[in-house]
Symmetry: D2
Subunit: 306 residues, 4 copies
């Protein structure tokens, strides 16, 4: 990696680090409330293989909703464009777990990244795979190069115990006929999927296929077609940050996805991926320092997709 990027990331990291601690830990998943709020790390992986990290970039955290991009990738590669009969591709304009728009649109989630959409994606995988949990885990192990990766039972159990809102969403969609399996089975997979843990280095590496035209860096293996890869990137840009997606596109200008664990991954096509983690969230549920750092990185590098 050339020194320019390093400098920009270091500067952005130090500037964001010195911010008085704003934001709050996610509390609706009890286990997430136990995280050390001072954690802050960032790691960039370039498609040329060079990479750079700073801060707590080797500490694992719960990637939560970031995993929705991976389950979408798997479902999209299986079903192709038919997938969009079950889910739309529009920004929701509302909170990540809102039921409002579902009622308006007859059980068709607005996009695959709001909770309702990610639940439908899980339903698709349950229908089309012999063992969705295992096969999805294998898929992520392959992408990440982490053969030991497992679901975190502690996180999944914590979320299951308090996941009434997601249970409401799943049953609601089922009542419209857009969930084909039993809600309990779909939710069980959903909670496991969201329980994956990675550190910033692993996370930025795992997402490189989306900055690389759909192919893995290490061996060029095609994960998804170039066209589908672009479309997933477009979805991240328009829908990746719930009702703050417009703000992220406006200020950062990169496709990305956040999770309530405080992680964010973003990418500049044909160039790099970057993963940042700070568990204190802004009122929209996105990492407070992570958003600031990424804004600085694209401002000073003058490299956004726009």
């Amino acid at each position: 990696m050339n020194s320019n990027y390093k400098n920009i990331i270091e500067n952005a990291y130090n500037k964001a680090k010195s911010l008085k601690d704003k934001g709050q830990l996610a509390t609706y998943i009890p286990e997430l409330a136990n995280v050390d709020p001072s954690m802050f790390g960032v790691h960039m992986t370039k498609v040329d293989g060079s990479n750079f990290g700073i801060g707590n970039y080797l500490i694992k955290f719960s990637i939560q909703s970031i995993a929705k991009v991976l389950s979408l990738t798997m479902a999209y590669s299986i079903l192709g464009e038919k997938l969009w009969k079950r889910i739309d591709v529009e920004p929701s304009g509302t909170k990540f777990d809102s039921l409002l728009l579902l009622e308006t649109y007859n059980g068709i989630p607005r996009n695959p990244f709001v909770n309702s959409g990610a639940i439908v994606i899980c339903d698709v995988l349950v229908s089309h795979l012999d063992n969705a949990k295992e096969e999805f885990l294998e898929f992520v192990r392959d992408l990440s190069g982490l053969p030991e990766l497992t679901y975190s039972d502690k996180i999944a159990d914590s979320e299951k115990a308090y996941g009434y809102r997601n249970s409401a969403l799943c049953n609601f969609i089922k009542s419209f006929g857009n969930i084909k399996n039993e809600p309990a089975e779909v939710l069980d997979f959903y909670f496991d999927m969201c329980s994956l843990e990675m550190n910033c280095q692993q996370l930025s590496y795992t997402f490189t296929f989306l900055a690389n035209g759909g192919r893995k860096l290490v061996d060029g293996k095609k994960i998804i077609s170039k066209s589908k890869c672009k479309r997933i990137n477009a979805l991240m840009l328009t829908c990746g940050f719930y009702d703050e997606s417009g703000e992220f596109a406006f200020k950062v200008g990169l496709p990305g996805k956040s999770g309530v664990g405080g992680g964010i991954v973003a990418l500049y096509p044909n160039n790099y991926t970057i993963a940042v983690w700070s568990p204190l969230l802004n009122p929209k549920g996105n990492s407070y320092k992570g958003m600031k750092l990424l804004e600085d990185v694209t401002t000073y590098s003058e490299l956004s997709i726009f």
Copy 2:
């Protein structure tokens, strides 16, 4: 322009032209219902100055909401980031003239491209300019290199006579205090602004400053800073096509803006702008053939921002 682009555009044009006529003329502005529905033209202008057009690309049409990008540019350059206290930057998730979200968000429009947001932009210009109508016209004349450009009274009058929905929006925002001038004055400017007419060649040329880092092609004159230019492009990507914005980002993958006159302008930063016109609209209010043509252009050129 290299022949590759020409071929791609020609092919996409011919393919879209042969589509059985789908879509409908805009009817809510009576004057727009008189347009010849068979019109179809496209024109690309590259930042290197080369350009290419095909079909009815020299016939003028009402650019309608496309002008909102230009009034936003003017207001943004005057107020800077303070502008965003009056308007948000999030996709609306609803129809272009919906009042629903205004009520939820206390009179703050979701973004500058829904009607309510564009009306607030007009209010800003009325407040900050001596003569908003004349100065905005001068601004567009300068951008377009068309010193004779004028508002179309016929279109503006037609819209004024039936503009009850926009009048409702303006009075509604005023009731929240987010319109500072009298609704009648703001609307008068709004209807004039939307009445501008250009052909595809002129329109693609006018927008080149947004593909050129905020500077005019002809003389390098700075219209808006590079950072603001990128942010306007980001807004076009996330909000430029009403509740079909996600679809356009997904399938075309370029910042763009449509108008109910059947025009669409889109741009690839540092590369080109493209304007297309076909007055038959899909159910979301965007040009049916224009959307198809642009999808083909980016699919075959493999050049989208993603």
Copy 3:
């Protein structure tokens, strides 16, 4: 009037009077903010002609939305059941000036007492009368026995100057085609209609026809059929207090109508009408002390329609 009612009213009056002043003056009509907030009066008129008042029951106040019952009566007697093609008869579940439900129901107001519904009623009267303002005034003069009654220019002008929300409603309904005349003309009548002033004695007397099967007390003149009279009473019960209608039915149990001037009129069919006035409003826009007094009156008299 038998002494029992007198006692109950006196007790309820004294109890409510001693409440520490809660509530706020209406402020969105500037002229209403000038009213003496300590005013408090009540007057009952029985259908046997006996009547009784206490407190400031001879001081005039702006009856505001209470007049909507009278304009509805006039429009209903003219159009009959055809009226309900233009307006529904369902509680709105939302604030009195909400636009939300209008969008959902394509410009058909939920009932004649939300602002949108009352504006459609005005439109109906403008269409069917030679001079709606004068003929409506004559109608109310006849009902009230007050030949000198006039619109209050001061109140009407004050409301017109700040009536952006109502202007939004009227233009919005017009955009759906459910206003037939020009918004300016309809609103001019609407603001005048809401500007009428009466005292509690006059107000309770004016409404006696609704407690008397549709006929005036003084001469038995039929104002409206018995069936229509009952239906207007039903509408007052289900819709007379905006999103507090259920609460009023629940606690008071009488058909009634409130106005933001702090007046409330209620009635017990075949028995009495009662008008109360205290200008301090609760958060729902209904008279704070007025509601309390009426609750006590029906609790202690054990006479509600239930």
Copy 4:
């Protein structure tokens, strides 16, 4: 019963019976779709003990949501006015199983008769009774004088198997903290409660306590205080027919409650109760012929509460 009522009911029955069959069987509970659609019966019980029935008034049917009045009565008598911290008393303005307003009002159902409200009532009973199912059954057995009354397993099982919408509602309210027990337990009771079966004679008799100031006809036993009895009646008037409540108040003018099994019970305080059953439903989910019959009964008897 005097012959006048008999005649009015007979005439209304014959008139409604001759209506060409409109409406549809409820289909969302599979077991209800098996009912003979030609069934039609009505039965009136006067508080003087006289009674009269015609048609299939001795055939049992699933009373469904009508049971919500009885569970409300039980919960209200236990908790008193504290109950209204958990549920509001306002008409919803929306469909019976809508989630929209729940989101707006933070998990507080609009009233006890929409599904969400009835589910909260079940939660209250589960919390305050040793065995909610048995004690509620005992309560209804006492009211109805039917010691053999039981829940219908066939109906309850049918509803449980397809009750995804109600499961969504219960989990959604739980996510706001307004359900205290486990959703599965609350729903199990809810589905049983809605599975009760009675014929028109039994149903009209069971409800006589609400027409009799809260006391049973047979022995004067106090079920609920007079004041609470009136309030339950007020709730039935404003909220008993979902988003057709206003229409029922307007045309029939009596407190009442409908169920998707096609039953309706209505009452005239201090006078009579009437139960009607015809399983074909109008688009709002209320019995088509039942509504017509009751409208005729109050029109011709000229006896409504208004």
